[in-house]
């Protein structure tokens, strides 16, 4: 009988009665063939692979991460509560050492959901990885976390949530934003002034194969992780780099995914995108689970796999190498960059427009963060959506210094409900969430 080298906890929640719309890639059928494959392979019979039943998250879990406008129930549906709950369940099993590793094979996904959430973007409403991580930080005292996002799309939601957090290293590998949604994730996006260098972006040219991807993992991601020494590595495991994916242009195989999984050696993987539901997902997911369990995956391959068909061009190889070097340099130079940014000003502002493609409207944001060399800094976001909501959101980070705590509380207390529809305060040191309304 097969026996896993590493005990893997798996939450499988395919949400067979939930879809964004009938023909949408994020529909009922998405994990059907994956289920067929894992059942037929007898994955849950492998000694050391355990299926866990997810417990849904509670609103407080979501409010630790998001400012949902107007409230949690308007943004997160029951399926989101369960899919985030799947990630949380896996996180608990890993934290309590019931298992060595965990994989939340759940839908809907979450990595495009940002801190302020007015609706759904990139098929995502709430960021299920962030909800899990912040729960684990609160409950189990986890501090330093690395998130490696290997979905083909830039994990802009996760990037936004951790933009100012020096305890969370976020690395996203994705197809170049000039050629794919959401159009961001360039090497220059390195994080806010208090956390510069803790956000790293690796855009890859279309048609990159696992050869290029694994090169980046080996020569940049792994060394950076070894340097950062996280207590927890989370993989946002999108499966849309596959050569058969209908909405992207990369050339990964199931073998590549399995190898990526064993190289990265993440503690927890959370499913993100991946829409080649018949030709890729059944094989990719099988490969990922076997790799996590430390089992042989050499015979896992797609029926139509042909190595020669998807070979990477030299131009792609060169481009991948140079971006990989650039990222490593960005990491190594982060302290100088931070000093440069911090000496300039007391606080930093940025203005952004955020498009909610799934729901079809826009949001404008003015963000202000206090420059601080001891904590993540108090954060204030003034946000208006096309739908008319105007809110102010104040975030006091988990390990905020007394000065930044005071600033945050001051912002919240001073904000008038005559000016804003709602004023929110995320008081992380107190693990509290406050709302003021007209």
């Amino acid at each position: 009988m097969l026996c896993a080298q590493k005990k893997v906890g798996l939450v499988f929640f395919p949400a067979y009665d939930w879809a964004i719309s009938p023909n949408h890639p994020e529909r009922e059928e998405r994990l059907l063939y994956t289920q067929d494959q894992i059942l037929e392979e007898g994955l849950f019979d492998i000694a050391g692979v355990v299926e866990l039943k997810p417990d849904p998250v509670v609103p407080a879990d979501i409010q630790r991460v998001h400012f949902c406008v107007p409230d949690v129930w308007s943004i997160a549906t029951e399926s989101h509560f369960i899919s985030a709950g799947g990630a949380k369940t896996v996180g608990i099993a890993v934290s309590e050492r019931q298992v060595d590793k965990g994989f939340a094979l759940v839908r809907p996904p979450g990595h495009h959901a940002m801190r302020v959430a007015h609706g759904s973007r990139g098929f995502c409403n709430i960021n299920i990885e962030a909800v899990m991580i912040e729960f684990l930080r609160c409950q189990y005292g986890v501090d330093r976390v690395a998130i490696v996002d290997t979905d083909c799309h830039h994990g802009d939601g996760t990037q936004d949530i951790y933009w100012h957090d020096p305890d969370t290293l976020f690395i996203s590998l994705h197809q170049d934003g000039r050629t794919l949604y959401p159009g961001s994730g360039f090497p220059g996006e390195l994080g806010g002034p208090n956390a510069v260098g803790y956000t790293l972006n690796v855009p890859l040219p279309p048609h990159t194969t696992e050869e290029g991807f694994l090169h980046v993992i080996r020569s940049a991601v792994r060394p950076i992780l070894d340097d950062f020494k996280p207590q927890l590595i989370v993989n946002s495991a999108g499966q849309d780099n596959h050569y058969t994916d209908p909405i992207t242009n990369m050339n990964f195989s199931a073998q590549g995914y399995a190898e990526l999984t064993s190289l990265l050696n993440a503690d927890i993987a959370v499913l993100e995108g991946g829409y080649s539901i018949e030709g890729a997902l059944p094989y990719v997911n099988l490969g990922i689970v076997l790799a996590m369990a430390g089992l042989d995956y050499s015979k896992v391959r797609e029926p139509d796999y042909d190595r020669c068909q998807i070979r990477q061009s030299e131009a792609v190889t060169d481009a991948v190498k140079s971006v990989s070097d650039l990222i490593l340099a960005g990491w190594q130079g982060r302290n100088q960059l931070r000093e440069k940014m911090l000496e300039k000003r007391q606080s930093h502002r940025r203005t952004r427009r955020i498009y909610y493609d799934t729901d079809g409207f826009s949001e404008s944001q003015q963000e202000e963060i206090t420059a601080c060399d001891t904590c993540g800094g108090a954060l204030k976001i003034d946000s208006t959506s096309d739908r008319g909501a105007h809110i102010l959101a104040v975030h006091i980070p988990r390990k905020a210094c007394p000065r930044c705590q005071e600033t945050g509380h001051g912002w919240y207390d001073d904000a008038s409900v005559r000016r804003f529809d709602q004023v929110f305060l995320q008081d992380r040191p107190g693990d509290k969430y406050h709302v003021k309304k007209k």
């Binding site: 067979y16 529909r27 059928e29 494959q37 392979e41 089992l295 015979k299």
Partner: protein
């Protein structure tokens, strides 16, 4: 009249009953080395002086196939396995003559790689040379498309006694379990066939031509004729017999725990409104995980003869048994001895039980009576803890839809039904420790044989339809049909129920009281590009385990206090 016969490890219980009451009850010693003799002795004793013309059925539950597997006295068989991409099928090896061949089918039943006939022919040649008489053939996803298994079966030719094809043993997905299940069917086939040929023979010598039925692990029966194709379904029918015996005592609208308390172990099962809860995949036996439908059970090492010891100053009971209770000539104290000390077990030599417990009591510095209470309480707590664990396990099964997440049935047992040797002695002590109502199953010594006698014929059918490929199939039933426009979940369900009815009648069900139910029905729109290309439909239907119709008077008479 019906005969129910259950061969247990030490005793063979036989009952004769009709719809008014239990007519006769016989217990004979089981001769493990000659089960045939045990069965025959039991049948002889129960039919003595009875007008055998009035016997309508005989239901047997034996340990024949179970013992053969556990003791590994099965003959060599040949296995031909085709996997295609995925986990290396070498990991699922069941036996030495296990040959992996090329050919593969994908999750929707499409051929990926064809069969290579010469591989099968070469394997067949080797099997023949090594004197192999039964062969199992299993392909990955054969339940979605059995063409490769059928082709390999044809290539094997007529030179083997019996060929078992994987898609016929179960409609469920799980390649590794399908391999194990097919292997076990092939392996126990000759033992099973020889045994029941002998039983039939001897009965006919006696002038008895009786419709024989066999109990299965899911608590249902099947006709003997049907069993030759699925002999492995008879494994572990013993625990199912006891559970079915308890069904009679369960209320229609409540959940209950069944506890079969034996000497070495206590076996637990769950009844949901008189239907036993089934295991999701299949039974585990020895090193084999199978697709053989069975009851969801939990067995713990706690029974009347569990060893009582002092470990690091702590009292322990079980999980092992070192022999009989001191009261019955053993050397290690047991809960049975404790029950005798308390006075719940009538025995003329209670002093012997006291003497047995004394050394432990002395070491603990407590009176013998106090120790006896503690031993019984420890044993009862372990049983109740197991009941909680089994309930949590059933309720903790993952679900895959929001609907099930919200509305999924949660088992909440209100009663415990105890049976088995020491049942009445333990019942009172269990009752002190639980808010659930503890009831002793009437005729608890023979409940297993009564359960076997009254079990109904069960079976299930899985149907899979793909409107893009325009085909509906239930390979386990040899069913494959093109489908028309407008085919949907409703048509698929009707088709599955039709197949189930035919199958159930073939296996011996009563056509007038066929309780069929839909276990699973799912329909998915398959979207390719931006268009719906078809529907993917999965339906599973079953005759759920339960008791046969028309025996309510009998059940009432059993429940009434003994005269």
């Amino acid at each position: 009249m019906i005969i129910g016969l259950d061969v247990g490890g030490t005793h063979t219980d036989v009952v004769l009953l009709d719809n008014a009451g239990l007519l006769r009850e016989v217990k004979v010693a089981t001769d493990a080395s000659d089960l045939f003799r045990s069965v025959f002795k039991g049948l002889n004793a129960i039919t003595e002086g009875v007008d055998t013309g009035a016997i309508r059925r005989i239901v047997l539950s034996t340990t024949l196939t179970t013992n053969a597997i556990i003791q590994n006295t099965i003959p060599p068989v040949g296995m031909i396995v085709s996997a295609g991409p995925g986990i290396d099928p070498e990991h699922f090896r069941t036996n030495p003559h296990y040959v992996c061949v090329k050919g593969s089918i994908d999750h929707r039943g499409r051929e990926v790689e064809p069969v290579q006939p010469e591989e099968t022919q070469a394997a067949a040649e080797r099997f023949r040379k090594d004197g192999i008489r039964q062969v199992g053939v299993v392909g990955k996803f054969s339940v979605r498309n059995p063409a490769h298994e059928i082709r390999i079966g044809e290539l094997l030719g007529n030179s083997f006694d019996k060929i078992f094809l994987g898609h016929r043993v179960s409609g469920g997905l799980n390649f590794a379990r399908r391999i194990a299940t097919t292997f076990l069917n092939a392996a126990v086939y000759p033992i099973h066939k020889t045994f029941f040929d002998a039983v039939l023979n001897s009965l006919s010598v006696k002038g008895l031509r009786l419709p024989l039925r066999l109990l299965k692990a899911d608590g249902g029966n099947m006709k003997l004729e049907a069993s030759v194709d699925f002999p492995a379904q008879t494994i572990l029918s013993g625990p199912a017999a006891s559970v079915m015996g308890a069904v009679a005592m369960a209320a229609r609208d409540e959940d209950a725990i069944v506890m079969d308390i034996g000497g070495t172990t206590t076996d637990l099962a769950v009844l949901i409104g008189r239907a036993p809860a089934l295991a999701p995949h299949g039974i585990d036996i020895g090193p084999y995980r199978t697709l053989i439908r069975s009851l969801e059970t939990l067995s713990i090492g706690m029974g009347g003869d569990s060893a009582v010891r002092l470990k690091n100053g702590c009292l322990t009971v079980g999980p092992d048994r070192e022999g009989p209770a001191i009261l019955f000539g053993g050397s290690v104290p047991t809960p049975t001895d404790a029950l005798a000390v308390i006075g719940d077990l009538a025995h003329e030599d209670r002093a012997r039980a006291r003497a047995g417990l004394k050394p432990v009591a002395d070491k603990m510095g407590i009176p013998i009576e106090t120790l006896a209470d503690q031993v019984v309480e420890t044993a009862c707590r372990a049983m109740l803890e197991a009941a909680g664990r089994l309930t949590a396990h059933i309720n903790g099964k993952p679900v895959y839809t929001l609907h099930e997440f919200k509305e999924g049935y949660q088992v909440r047992p209100r009663s415990i039904l105890v049976l088995g040797g020491p049942a009445p002695c333990f019942a009172k002590h269990l009752q002190r420790l639980t808010p659930m109502q503890v009831r002793v199953v009437p005729r608890w010594q023979a409940a297993n044989a009564i359960g076997a006698a009254l079990a109904r014929t069960t079976c299930e059918v899985g149907l899979f339809a793909d409107t893009e490929q325009r085909v509906a199939s239930a390979p386990a039933e040899k069913f494959l049909q093109p489908i028309m426009d407008g085919y949907g979940l409703e048509a698929a369900t009707a088709q599955a129920l039709g197949l189930l009815r035919v199958k159930a009648l073939e296996r011996g069900a009563n056509p007038d009281y066929l309780e069929m139910e839909v276990v699973e029905s799912q329909q998915f729109n398959m979207v390719r590009g931006f268009n719906t290309s078809g529907k993917n439909i999965r339906v599973r239907v079953q005759v759920k385990p339960g008791l046969i119709h028309g025996y309510d008077d009998l059940l009432r008479s059993l429940a009434a206090p003994a005269p």
